[in-house]
C-alpha cells in the first residue's frame, strides 16, 4: 500500500469518528429538549395551594366559654364579617340560618348541666375558610 493511501484511510477514519461523536452529542441535546422533566420547579410549587383566606368570619360576644347560668336559655350574640350560613348545634338543639353581615343575636335553649355548643360558619365564597367555635355553657340551678 502506498504511503498516501494509508494516510488517507487514517484521516478518513478520524474524520468519521469526529462526525459520529458530533452527531451523538447533538442527538443527546435534541432528546433532552424534547423530554419534559416531571419534577416541579420552585415557582410552581408555591402556587399549588389555593389562596384560602383565614378571614375572621365570626366573633362571639356572649356567651363566654365556661359560663354558668341559672336559667334554661342563653342569648347568643356575635358578629359576622360576611353573609354566611350559621349552624349552631348542642346535644339539645340545632339552629340553622343564613345570616347577613353584621351583628346578630338569637336565643338558644339549654339543657340542665353541661351544654357543649358548636357554632360553625360557612361562606359560599370558596376562598374564605370555614370557621368554628365551641363554647361550654353550664345551666346549674343550684346557684
Amino acid at each position: 500500500m502506498k504511503k498516501e493511501t494509508s494516510i488517507a484511510i487514517i484521516f478518513g477514519i478520524v474524520f468519521g469518528a469526529v462526525i459520529a461523536v458530533f452527531i451523538i452529542l447533538k442527538n443527546k441535546d435534541f432528546q433532552l429538549q424534547k423530554t419534559k422533566t416531571i419534577a416541579p420547579d420552585i415557582k410552581t410549587k408555591s402556587k399549588t395551594n389555593p389562596n384560602l383566606i383565614n378571614a375572621n368570619l365570626l366573633e362571639i360576644v356572649t356567651p363566654t366559654d365556661g359560663m354558668i347560668v341559672n336559667k334554661n336559655l342563653v342569648t347568643i350574640k356575635g358578629k359576622l364579617t360576611q353573609k354566611s350560613l350559621v349552624v349552631v348545634q348542642s346535644p339539645l338543639k340545632d339552629y340553622v340560618k343564613e345570616i347577613d353581615k353584621g351583628d346578630f343575636n338569637f336565643d338558644f335553649s339549654l339543657a340542665l348541666g353541661e351544654n357543649v355548643i358548636n357554632i360553625s360558619v360557612y361562606s359560599k365564597d370558596p376562598v374564605i375558610r370555614n370557621q368554628e367555635k365551641q363554647i361550654k355553657v353550664y345551666f346549674l340551678d343550684q346557684l
Binding site: L85, Q89, P91, V96, A111, L112, V116, N118, K136
Partner: protein
C-alpha cells in the same frame, strides 16, 4: 318676822334656780346621739359595700368544670376533663349534695353512687387544679363536632369523618340516629336515610362515646349533612 319671810323667800328662789340649772345638762346629753347615728350609718354602708364586693368576686371566680371520674376516695374525687386536664374535687360528707341529671330534672343520689368513668359537673371556686364544692352533678357526656365525611360504609352503617381538629373518627349510625339533610335552596332541614349521604359532604354531629377505652369511635345521636352542592357557586 319680816326678816324670816325674806330669808325663806330667798331660799326658795335659790332652789328654783338650781332646778333650772339642770336643764343645760339634759341638752348636752341630747347632742351626743346624732354622732352615734352617723357612725352607725357609715359602718352599715361599709358592711354593705364589702358584702357586695365579696359576692362580685365570688361570682367572678365561680367556675364550672366537668370530667370523667378517675378515682374517688375519702373526701376527694379526681377527674379528667375531655381536653385531658386533671382536677381534684374536694367534697364534704355533711355538706356536699350529689345529683343525677335526667333530662330537664335532677334526682338526688348518694356519694357511693359516683363511680369510676362517670361524667360529673362541679361548680365552685377553682384554686389552681383543686375545687371545693357543695354540689356535684352526674351527667352524660356528649361529643359535639363538625367535619368532612371521608368514607361511607353501607355494610356496617358507619361514617368516617375528619373533624375540624383533623382527627379521624368513626361514627356508627343506628336506627335511633336522627339524620338530617340541609336543602341548599330553602336552607330547611329534612329527615333522610343513610343512602343520601356522600363522601365529601360536611357533617355537624352530636354523638356519645362507645367505649372509653376505644378512642375516636362514637354512636351518632343526631347529625346534619350539608351537601357539597351548597358550596358550589
Amino acid at each position: 318676822m319680816k326678816k324670816i319671810t325674806l330669808i325663806v323667800l330667798l331660799f326658795l328662789s335659790l332652789t328654783t334656780f338650781g332646778v333650772n340649772a339642770q336643764s343645760p345638762q339634759a341638752s348636752a346629753g341630747a347632742k351626743i346621739s346624732p354622732t352615734a347615728t352617723v357612725d352607725d350609718k357609715e359602718i352599715q354602708l361599709f358592711k354593705n359595700k364589702v358584702a357586695t364586693k365579696v359576692a362580685e368576686l365570688r361570682e367572678k371566680n365561680n367556675r364550672a368544670i366537668a370530667g370523667f371520674v378517675v378515682n374517688s376516695k375519702d373526701g376527694l374525687i379526681h377527674i379528667k376533663s375531655s381536653d385531658a386536664t386533671e382536677y381534684d374535687v374536694k367534697t364534704d360528707d355533711n355538706l356536699t349534695q350529689y345529683f343525677q341529671i335526667n333530662g330537664s330534672s335532677k334526682k338526688e343520689i348518694k356519694r357511693d353512687d359516683i363511680v369510676k368513668d362517670d361524667y360529673v359537673i362541679i361548680s365552685g371556686i377553682l384554686n389552681d387544679k383543686t375545687m371545693d364544692t357543695n354540689v356535684l352533678y352526674r351527667d352524660e357526656y356528649f361529643f359535639v363536632a363538625s367535619g368532612k365525611i371521608t368514607a361511607v360504609n353501607n355494610v356496617d352503617f358507619s361514617l368516617s369523618v375528619v373533624d375540624s381538629d383533623k382527627d379521624n373518627i368513626i361514627l356508627d349510625v343506628e336506627n335511633s340516629t336522627n339524620q338530617y339533610l340541609l336543602d341548599v335552596k330553602t336552607l330547611q332541614l329534612s329527615k333522610i336515610g343513610f343512602s343520601k349521604i356522600k363522601e365529601g359532604d360536611t357533617i355537624q354531629l352530636v354523638a356519645r362515646r362507645k367505649d372509653l377505652r376505644v378512642p375516636n369511635k362514637y354512636t351518632a345521636i343526631r347529625y346534619i349533612v350539608i351537601p357539597q352542592e351548597y358550596f358550589i357557586k
